[in-house]
């Protein structure tokens, strides 16, 4: 292909605005209005990329999203985007693009050696040769090599610097496609007062009108399209060019608007906007895609769809070659003959597969000075990197020198969205194509997607569809005046149906250009029994590339049908799945990236922590202080100091992130008795109890303390992680299983600030600042709950201990949290009170052998955790039946134990416990350095046989991080075994 810019013509370009761009490292010039494809052709660039499997040279084959040859990479660094289709890339100043799958260069490609071995790399080749080989050879040996040689472009390796947006929208009528049918449908619906969204994937509204030379309503077709779109916008319709409606999901459409979709700084605008659209009525005006013809050598750069060549001439002022031929099977392709000849391009020959060519078409060939080969076909092509000539096969055949061959086997209606919505494509013999099947309720199709390809038909059916949509919505419809079209010959040329799909037998006849699937591959699939359409697709990968078979599906089915000797519809068609064209993950993520994925929850005392040396750790959505660093300290030094402070003096920790649920009502105690494994009905007012709840299957779900604040009122606490799940668990049980219980459950996590004050000096600290509570041991015993005040602030104080020390939890209204915290800090100053974070919290609870999140992993039972004695035998509760299944009480289950490091080195969380068997017998769940145990390195673990193995020596091995520590199995209750410290 030796394309060039025509001296005149090109309705879509501005010859006064020149743009510079780079392709494959070389600078080129183009014009405003160009696509990357038109600019490359204008510059005579024939080879744009290499094919996926054989690395054969590929050029531009189309002028739309069906492009299967000219796949390019755009941009650099984090903006690098693979697999862009050159005809869909608007040319902008400074565009950087590159061809794909070529190493070291487009001209000389090492991978093309695959092409020499072509007969070996046939359908199913990977399955037969590599995957079925000796175990492991695929993943270790073959796959990495093949992946490097093949593949579809490269992914970016740095974060995407651009911004993406999400938009939700509703409308009365969504019109998909802004060709003549869509423009008229939107106009008619808007005229009837409907709220209209008109979306179109191309740079400008107009569809096929943009490369049509005829006049509509007395003005050139592209001008008619622009004026109609402008009227729609003025009238209040939402007109979205550059917006691909890519998918239909249960009544909702996904669309991507390319707002500033080119490399470089988008200056604050989002690069793309993801739309989710719900419409009361849908007008499908998606048009049709030209169908290529399969013949030997049809992948050579220079072989292109006929209407694409027409678009390049009429819209972009670009000749795709100096001397061209047309290979067709229907009259519509003669529009290309006519328009290219009119543009001054030498049309040497028209090869028409039909023995009898209608006069209207034949006369256009004659007027163009082209030799017409009726009843012939193209038997071969030749040329090194691009087309140099072709062989006409047939009675009067021969060799012709051309540099472009323009092909058209008919049209395929673009019915993807209808198929996604459940309308099975239906084969239409008269059209020789699939039409959309019966459409869902509220859908109307108009224009070429219905199989009516003439522009007059598109204008008419579009207007009618818009009127019908408005009428269906109860709008009063005044019929719209239909525009007059002054090009009668086009209607005649598009009236006759294309010939049935056919192919020319021979070697290297490509069906799927993007995945290098040939007609021989389909024959092989047939011979090996992969005949059903879904088998054919998977065995050959036909239609599975980024173009999703837009141009290859029907030809592939037709060839299989021919082998089977059956009609095409019996082979079937696959159901199209979203997306219609690839969607960037960034567009789907929208603004929800990094810290924006979900809100960060801060406790009421967060600012205090931040100004007092806290380093934070995310626990679920919450940010909690991990430790408070003093000058010269790292996290390890800080948490060891903090934990020691709690054992010897007094510390304070923020526990506001714990889930808090108010359980209120006459049957509140009954509810708690049913959801907790241990009893709550007899808990006196003013007392708290530690509770464990199970799932229905008997596995431990969550734990926490619940406080009886009144006869009918409880405050339940949950772990930070399970707060939402526990609330939902209670709500669902109350709604579905026990609607008779008179209980309300309400989340109060956000309403309370909570802090635990722990250590031998906790009592004197609180007694100095809390009014209205007698802190004496007898007056305020362990597990009691009291109400008092700190200054003006009412507080609830519960004598609970997670650390094993004398300890109290102080709760107050969230807005008072920071003030109460500071009052306690002030009261404890004489005792050198120190705040502690979740690391020290973990140290203290590990020393006491308390289970927490890492042990409550959704697999452990009360038996596993050594808590079976908590389960009440006197009552039934959620999970009580299934927790007693024999297999859940097998002593060989992984059960809760402690570990002590034997060489003084830290044990790693997640390490496996290996004994003499050499196999993993358990894993480490929580680890710490223990200041209370003279600096021992200890851990909690789940070990097969658990408590039966205390005293055994094992290896805690973490091969990923290259770490192995000898450990001794121990009682998990390491410190203060009689629990006397918290009862003082």
């Amino acid at each position: 292909m030796t394309g060039y810019r025509l001296a005149t013509g090109g309705s879509g370009i501005d010859r006064t605005r020149r743009l510079g761009f780079t392709f494959a490292g070389r600078p080129y010039g183009g014009l405003a209005g160009d696509t990357l494809a038109s600019a490359l052709i204008a510059n005579g660039v024939g080879v744009v990329g290499r094919s996926f499997k054989y690395h054969r040279p590929r050029g531009v084959t189309a002028a739309g999203p069906e492009e299967a040859g000219a796949l390019v990479s755009l941009g650099e660094g984090g903006r690098h985007e693979p697999n862009a289709k050159a005809p869909m890339v608007p040319l902008v100043e400074g565009l950087v693009a590159d061809g794909q799958n070529a190493w070291p260069s487009l001209g000389f490609d090492v991978g093309a050696i695959n092409g020499l071995a072509g007969p070996l790399i046939s359908a199913g080749f990977y399955y037969k040769t590599f995957i079925g080989g000796p175990r492991g050879t695929w993943t270790r040996l073959f796959e990495p090599v093949i992946r490097r040689a093949a593949g579809m472009g490269r992914a970016a390796t740095t974060p995407d610097p651009d911004r993406y947006e999400t938009m939700n929208a509703t409308c009365d009528v969504l019109v998909i496609g802004a060709g003549p049918a869509g423009l008229m449908a939107a106009t008619a619906a808007l005229a009837a007062g409907a709220r209209v969204i008109l979306a179109d994937e191309r740079e400008r509204p107009g569809g096929a009108l943009l490369h049509d030379l005829s006049e509509v309503d007395g003005v050139p077709a592209p001008d008619f399209a622009a004026a109609t779109a402008a009227r729609l916008t003025d009238g209040g319709a939402v007109v979205l060019p550059r917006t691909t409606v890519y998918g239909h999901y249960d009544g909702r459409f996904g669309a991507v608007e390319r707002v500033v979709d080119h490399p470089g700084d988008p200056h604050g605008l989002p690069r793309q906007r993801h739309w989710q659209i719900r419409a009361r009525h849908v007008v499908l005006a998606t048009g049709a895609i030209e169908r290529p013809i399969v013949f030997p050598g049809n992948d050579r750069p220079g072989v292109m769809l006929a209407d694409a060549a027409r678009a390049y001439a009429n819209r972009y002022g670009v000749a795709v070659g100096r001397r061209v031929a047309v290979f067709a099977a229907h009259d519509g392709a003669y529009r290309t003959v006519r328009d290219l000849a009119a543009a001054g391009i030498d049309v040497a020959a028209v090869v028409d597969a039909r023995p009898a060519v209608p006069a209207a078409a034949a006369s256009l060939a004659e007027a163009a000075g082209a030799r017409l080969f009726a009843g012939h076909h193209v038997g071969a092509t030749r040329g090194r990197k691009g087309l140099a000539g072709l062989t006409v096969a047939g009675a009067d055949g021969g060799s012709i020198a051309v540099d472009a061959l323009l092909v058209s086997g008919g049209y395929t209606p673009t019915l993807h969205l209808a198929s996604q919505a459940g309308a099975r494509p239906q084969w239409d013999d008269a059209l020789a194509a699939f039409r959309p099947g019966p459409l869902p309720e509220g859908w109307t199709a108009a224009g070429a997607v219905t199989g009516r390809y003439a522009t007059t038909d598109a204008l008419e059916t579009g207007a009618a569809a818009g009127e019908a949509a408005a009428a269906a919505l109860g709008r009063t419809v005044a019929p719209l005046a239909r525009p007059a079209l002054a090009a009668a010959d086009d209607a005649a040329l598009t009236a006759t149906a294309p010939a049935a799909p056919f192919h020319v037998a021979g070697k290297k006849a490509f069906v799927d250009l993007e995945h290098d699937v040939t007609s021989a591959d389909i024959a092989l699939a047939h011979d090996e029994g992969f005949q059903a359409v879904e088998h054919l697709k998977r065995y050959t990968t036909l239609g599975m590339a980024t173009d999703q078979g837009k141009t290859s599906n029907v030809n592939g089915l037709a060839i299989m049908a021919e082998h089977l000797g059956a009609p095409i519809p019996t082979v079937g068609t696959t159901r199209f799945r979203p997306p219609y064209t690839p969607v960037a993950l960034g567009a789907l993520a929208g603004a929800e990236t990094g810290a924006h994925v979900r809100p960060t929850r801060l406790t009421p005392m967060h600012d205090w922590h931040a100004t007092h040396g806290a380093v934070f750790v995310a626990t679920g959505a919450w940010l909690r202080p991990r430790a408070y660093l003093r000058p010269g300290e790292g996290v390890r030094e800080a948490y060891i100091r903090e934990a020691a402070t709690v054992r010897t003096g007094v510390g304070i920790v923020d526990v506001s992130s714990l889930g808090k649920i108010e359980v209120a009502g006459p049957d509140a105690a009954t509810l708690l008795d049913r959801v907790y494994a241990n009893g709550f009905a007899k808990l006196p007012v003013g007392r708290a109890r530690y509770g464990v709840m199970l799932r229905e299957d008997g596995v431990v779900f969550d734990d926490g303390t619940t406080w009886r604040l009144g006869e009918t009122r409880f405050l339940m606490t949950t772990t930070t992680a399970n707060a939402a799940a526990v609330l939902s668990h209670l709500e669902v049980l109350l709604a579905t299983a026990w609607p008779d219980l008179r209980v309300h459950v309400t989340s109060t996590t956000e309403q309370w600030a909570g802090m635990a004050v722990a250590g031998p000096l906790a009592r004197t600290t609180l007694a100095a600042t809390v009014a209205g509570i007698d802190f004496a041991n007898e007056a305020f015993p362990f597990m009691a709950v009291r109400e008092g005040a700190i200054g003006e602030v009412p507080v609830i104080v519960a004598r609970l201990s997670f650390s094993g020390e004398l300890a109290y939890e102080v709760y107050c209204g969230a807005h008072h949290g920071a003030a109460v915290w500071e009052r306690i800090m002030a009261a404890g100053a004489v005792h050198e009170i120190a705040p502690y974070g979740v690391e020290a919290l973990g140290t203290l609870r590990i020393e006491k052998g308390h289970v927490s999140g890492p042990e409550l992993d959704g697999r452990t039972t009360l038996y596993d955790l050594g808590l079976e004695r908590m389960a009440s035998a006197k009552k039934a509760f959620v999970g009580s039946v299934l927790m007693r299944r024999p297999a859940l009480r097998d002593p060989a289950r992984k059960r809760f134990v402690g570990l002590v490091s034997l060489d003084g080195k830290p044990i790693r969380s997640g390490a496996h416990l290996v004994g003499p068997s050499g196999r993993s017998e358990g894993h480490v769940t929580s680890t710490t350095h223990s200041p209370a145990l003279a600096g021992a390195e200890i851990a909690l673990a789940l070990l097969s046989g658990g408590p039966d193995r205390i005293g055994e020596e094992l290896l805690a091995t973490d091969p990923v991080r290259g770490n192995a520590v000898p450990v001794r199995v121990a009682d998990p209750l390491f410190f203060d075994k009689d629990g006397s410290r918290m009862h003082v």
């Binding site: 009544g251 109350l734 039946v881 299944r885």
Partner: protein, 92 residues
């Protein structure tokens, strides 16, 4: 898929959490092990019309939704539990 929450009106299914089959009654807490085993582990996989529990994350209502599992068409939606009657009244 839109679920018409009686409190909040039709909302996207993204706002809801699927809970489970509403066509089965949970066993009594002390029902035999075999009954509980069947209830917890033997799940039906119905095709077509199905009644199921969903919870609306926003208003916390537990809902019985009648949905076609093949087409995702929602035929009905009501609030379940002790507040069903008052909620339905409030929504009028």
């Amino acid at each position: 898929m839109l679920i018409p929450c009686p409190h909040c009106g039709p909302r996207e299914s993204d706002e809801f959490t699927y809970i489970g089959d509403a066509e089965r009654t949970p066993p009594a807490l002390d029902a035999p092990e075999a009954v509980w085993t069947r209830y917890v582990f033997a799940r039906r996989n119905p095709m077509g019309r199905h009644r199921e529990y969903w919870q609306h994350t926003g208003c916390r209502a537990v809902l019985a939704v009648t949905r076609n599992t093949l087409t995702h068409e929602v035929e009905g939606c009501e609030i379940v539990g002790p507040h069903a009657a008052t909620a339905a009244g409030a929504g009028e």
